[in-house]
């Protein structure tokens, strides 16, 4: 079977597998639901995700170890992932093919020619790595100060070696450059140590914006599935709505649309993961190349080349996606996959300029402090995030904006944050209670178990609810509900309600009520006629049944007692039979028609910020009770109470 057919089967297989994983990410035990499907496998295979998490936290979390497999295979084979596995790449490949279908051979060769702009993706990669490594200098320096430690020492040596080798290869063999970089590294180490802990140089994770796997995951999860929901055939029966989908759609559309300009535009020019693979393929044992030079120069190989890696001339292995189209297209079969360099020569390094390097690394290192200093991620603005979210700085160092938490959430309360939260928080999960189907359920812990990087920790039910082993630390609090008394129906409009109190799921309820009787606006009336249980009031104009809901009472002015109204006509009231008034009412006596209101109050010691109240509040445009981030468990400074409500 021709190799490109094998490759196409592989691409189709992984694309379908990816879409399958996206589809089944719903809670349930059916085979078409989550069960134990490893739905994060593609994100875990992604070495860029693993690398930025390692840089930002110093640990390689659980499933991300799969990335070692991908990285290892790339080190040996080259960019096989781009050509054979990446589902986003497969989409680009297909759309690129569509775009070139009616083009002539010359046009194809021109479209697949190497372009210096292909260096941009390396700058993008370095920018993201610098953003993630913001705190690394400080941590390494602190580790050093703690004294010689064998394990740590080996790790540091290995890191330096790999970094040094890579940078050397990128920059070429210039010795001066090497010294400059060493100096820069030491400077960065020192600065990091001095400024670490001050919050200025910290790590953040921005690679999720352009890393193809989170990008595709996000687009499918938040855009494509919800488009199918309203037909009743989509994966979720209550249709999902996501704010800011237009931006996700725009980016996806642009990324895919650009393939019509040049095939695999994203892969060649933008993809930071491709850039990382390009760097890793530096020592690949095998590479594509010509067996004979000169060849016929028919350029047929160039008409099909996916990576724009110049198979007909000096080959660029760091751009080659191993698509094998060149091998298939060559009429003389002179292109093969061999340990030897191409007979036409090989350039091993991407064309990076010193200036470009400097700007991307410097830009990345300074980006985080700039973003933070401009107040977009300061502690005062900690948003309400899903349960299990780490403290904000640690959270931002791990969240890849993949949208898995949003997909699995059974009530759809987890929403992608928009640009108003700043670039760092873009598409990170925040809770929107009004858009949800019930708030953040207190007996659900799904989101943390689907987060590939532990930006949301996997919680047990006991930990979330503060029971069992966790009874001393209390439940996980997301925030606190605050009553807007100006909007609340009982408070502001004399209308009985307390749906919020009914829906409060914690026990004892965090919303409690105090009873108040208020005289209605037109409730101060005089008696025209009174019998034992019936009253006729002068000048009253009630709607029949209006006062019969069980919430209305007649009160004699100046007296404490009141009697319930069970029926009413326009001006006639029937009162509940009972003992009656101690002294019967007579004509011309003043009475007050009162409504009994249960006024809700929130007890911050019991409130866990689940938002069931905000969701249930009948005021649909803006709830009269709203949850905000005060008193959330993950933030010490947001505390309302000295002892944060632990009972």
């Amino acid at each position: 079977m021709p190799i490109i057919s094998v490759r196409r089967i592989s691409q189709a297989f992984f694309l379908l597998l990816f879409l399958w994983f996206c589809y089944v990410s719903m809670l349930g035990e059916g085979w078409w639901q989550l069960r134990g499907w490893p739905v994060n496998w593609f994100l875990e295979l992604d070495p860029l995700v693993a690398l930025v998490v390692v840089l930002g936290t110093g640990t390689l979390y659980a499933g991300l170890a799969w990335a070692l497999l991908t990285a290892g295979l790339t080190l040996i084979l080259g960019r096989f992932f781009c050509g054979w596995v990446c589902p986003f790449g497969t989409i680009h490949h297909f759309v690129g093919w569509l775009g070139l279908r009616r083009k002539s051979a010359e046009q194809r060769v021109a479209a697949n020619q190497y372009h210096p702009g292909q260096a941009v993706k390396y700058y993008v990669l370095l920018f993201f790595l610098a953003v993630a490594a913001g705190d690394l200098g400080g941590r390494l320096a602190r580790g050093l100060a703690a004294g010689p430690n064998w394990a740590w020492g080996i790790t540091l040596a290995a890191a330096l070696l790999l970094a040094g080798l890579t940078l050397k290869e990128i920059a070429g063999a210039s010795r001066k450059m090497l010294w400059a970089m060493l100096l820069a590294f030491l400077l960065w180490l020192g600065l990091g140590h001095l400024l670490a802990g001050g919050g200025a140089f910290t790590s953040s994770l921005l690679s999720g914006l352009l890393d193809p796997l989170p990008l595709l995951q996000r687009s499918v999860n938040l855009l494509f599935w919800p488009l199918g929901d309203p037909t009743g055939r989509g994966p979720s029966l209550p249709a999902r709505l996501y704010l800011g989908d237009w931006l996700i759609a725009a980016i996806f559309a642009v990324a895919v649309g650009l393939n019509l300009l040049r095939p695999r535009f994203f892969c060649r020019f933008i993809c930071p993961l491709g850039a990382l693979f390009g760097l890793l393929s530096r020592f690949a044992v095998w590479r594509m190349g010509k067996d004979v030079e000169p060849c016929r120069q028919c350029r047929l190989c160039d008409t099909r080349c996916q990576g724009a890696c110049a198979p007909s001339a000096e080959h660029r292995p760091s751009e080659c996606l191993l698509c094998a189209n060149c091998r298939q297209a060559c009429p003389d079969e002179v292109i093969s996959f061999d340990p030897a360099s191409s007979a036409a020569g090989e350039t091993t390094s991407p064309d990076l300029t010193r200036r470009g390097l400097l700007w991307s690394i410097l830009g990345g290192t300074l980006a985080v402090p700039v973003l933070r200093v401009s107040g977009l991620a300061r502690e005062q603005t900690w948003p309400v995030r899903p349960p299990g979210a780490l403290a904000e700085p640690e959270f931002l160092a791990r969240c890849t904006n993949c949208g898995q938490c949003m997909r699995i959430c059974p009530t759809g309360v987890i929403q992608p944050a928009g640009l108003e939260a700043g670039l760092e928080s873009l598409w990170t999960p925040v809770l929107n209670f009004k858009l949800s189907k019930g708030g953040c359920l207190v007996n659900c812990v799904a989101c943390g178990h689907l987060c590939p990087t532990a930006a949301l920790r996997p919680l047990s039910l006991s930990e979330r609810q503060g029971k069992g082993d966790f009874s001393s630390t209390g439940p996980v609090r997301l925030g606190t509900a605050f009553l807007d008394r100006g909007r609340c129906l009982p408070w502001a409009m004399d209308r009985p309600c307390i749906v919020c109190q009914e829906m409060c799921p914690v026990s004892p309820k965090a919303i409690f009520t105090r009873t108040e009787y208020r005289t209605l606006r037109h409730g101060a009336l005089t008696v025209a006629q009174a019998e034992k249980d019936d009253l006729v009031l002068r000048g009253a104009a009630f709607s029949p049944g209006e006062l019969a809901t069980g919430d209305y009472f007649v009160s004699r002015q100046g007296f404490q007692d009141r009697r319930a109204i069970i029926k009413n006509g326009k001006d006639r009231l029937s009162l509940a039979p009972g003992d009656g008034w101690p002294r019967p009412l007579g004509p011309d006596q003043p009475v007050e028609i009162q409504v009994r209101l249960l006024l809700p109050f929130v007890d911050p010691a019991a409130c866990v910020g689940c938002g069931a109240c905000e969701h249930a509040c009948p005021l649909k445009l803006k709830s009269a009770i709203r949850v905000s981030g005060e008193n959330q468990s993950r933030s010490r400074t947001s505390f309302l109470l000295k002892t944060a409500g632990k009972k």
Binding site: M1, I3, S5, V6, I9, S10, F13, L17, L27, G28, E29, G30, W31, Q33, L34, R35, G36, W37, P38, W41, W84, T231, G232, R233, L237, I408, P410, L441, N443, C444, V445, A446, C447, G448, H449, L450, P458, S460, L461
Partner: protein
């Protein structure tokens, strides 16, 4: 080379397939949550997919504890009548998802319990349909009691196709659960003259506002303009019938009823004037029976006598 790749792909497939057997902790931890939200395990759908209909969404299942989540305040009626579980599933006409209907299958503790919830919710605009037994159609919904099940089929859109589909579905259900009115002998004990058709109902508990009055069959009668309700109930033995009759009488008196002179027949009957309407209570062996909310004493007595005669005839 190609073979190697295929082996790898196969290995990936096998690995993924094996992995899905070990449930994600999120799935395990949210079992209780999902059952509260009414999502059923896939194997136990309420009934096999009926012909001509395609399932829409997932089947739901409810227990007495969470029935409230599905039908809210109505749950009380079912719970008082011996509700066991509810299975619900939506279907739609193939190719037309907007024409959907929901099937609710209430499993009650007995055919009588099913009849109780069926009869107490009978819609006034009921139209008969061609299914033997307890069934009717009312606007966009079809109601059926068969065996221990009470079936409600509610359609989102009314159209001839929908009605056909609903009827076919109900018929299929009835075929699977044939037990019908013949299983409830009391329905034949009501005298025919003046009986409003299909007005017989069964109250499993709390009839006429009196807690202790349970398993009471009622039927409505019309004589000219006057309406009245006749009730009867078979108790385990004559003593139980007598004591419940006495308790009911006491209840009526306590709520403003005035006991009147005992009527001549049926023997041992009590007649009570409750705020202008008349209640007549009598027992016949183990059967407690009587008339409720009659307009006049003659009407009450007349109905009671006919009832007593019919009872003697039907229950030796």
């Amino acid at each position: 080379m190609g073979l190697g790749v295929f082996l790898v792909l196969a290995a990936v497939g096998v690995g993924v397939f094996l992995k899905q057997f070990s449930l994600n902790p999120a799935v395990v931890a949210t079992r209780e949550l999902r059952s509260a939200m009414g999502v059923l395990k896939p194997e136990a759908a309420p009934m096999p997919a009926p012909p001509g209909l395609a399932p829409l969404g997932q089947p739901e299942s409810f227990t007495p504890e969470n029935l409230f989540h599905k039908i809210n305040g109505k749950a009380e009626l079912y719970l008082a009548s011996g509700f066991e579980n509810l299975k619900a599933q939506r279907y739609h006409l193939p190719g037309d998802p907007a024409s959907w209907l929901e099937v609710l299958v209430y499993r009650m503790k007995s055919p009588r319990a099913a009849f109780a919830v069926y009869s107490q919710q009978r819609r006034p605009e009921a139209k008969p349909i061609d299914i033997k037994g307890f069934s009717y159609i009312a606007q966009n919904a079809l109601f059926l009691a068969a065996g221990p099940f009470y079936l409600e089929i509610v359609a989102a859109k009314i159209s001839p196709e929908m009605e056909k589909a609903m009827t076919a579905l109900a018929r299929g259900f009835k075929a699977a659960n044939p037990a019908g009115p013949e299983g409830i002998p009391e329905l034949a004990w009501f005298p025919e003259k003046g009986l409003l058709p299909h007005s017989a109902a069964l109250h499993m508990a709390g009839a006429f506002g009196f807690e202790q009055l349970g398993e009471i069959f009622t039927a409505r009668y019309q004589d000219g303009q006057a309406e009245a309700t006749v009730f009867l109930s078979r108790k385990p033995d004559p003593q139980a019938a007598a004591s419940q009759a006495a308790a009911f009488e006491k209840f009526l008196v306590a709520n403003g009823g005035k006991k009147m002179a005992a009527p001549s027949e049926p023997a041992g009957a009590a007649l009570i004037d409750l705020l202008g309407l008349y209640e007549l209570i009598f027992t016949q062996g183990p059967i407690l029976a009587g008339v409720h909310e009659a307009g006049g004493t003659e009407a009450a007595q007349e109905l009671a006598s006919r009832l007593a005669r019919k009872l003697k005839e039907k229950t030796p």
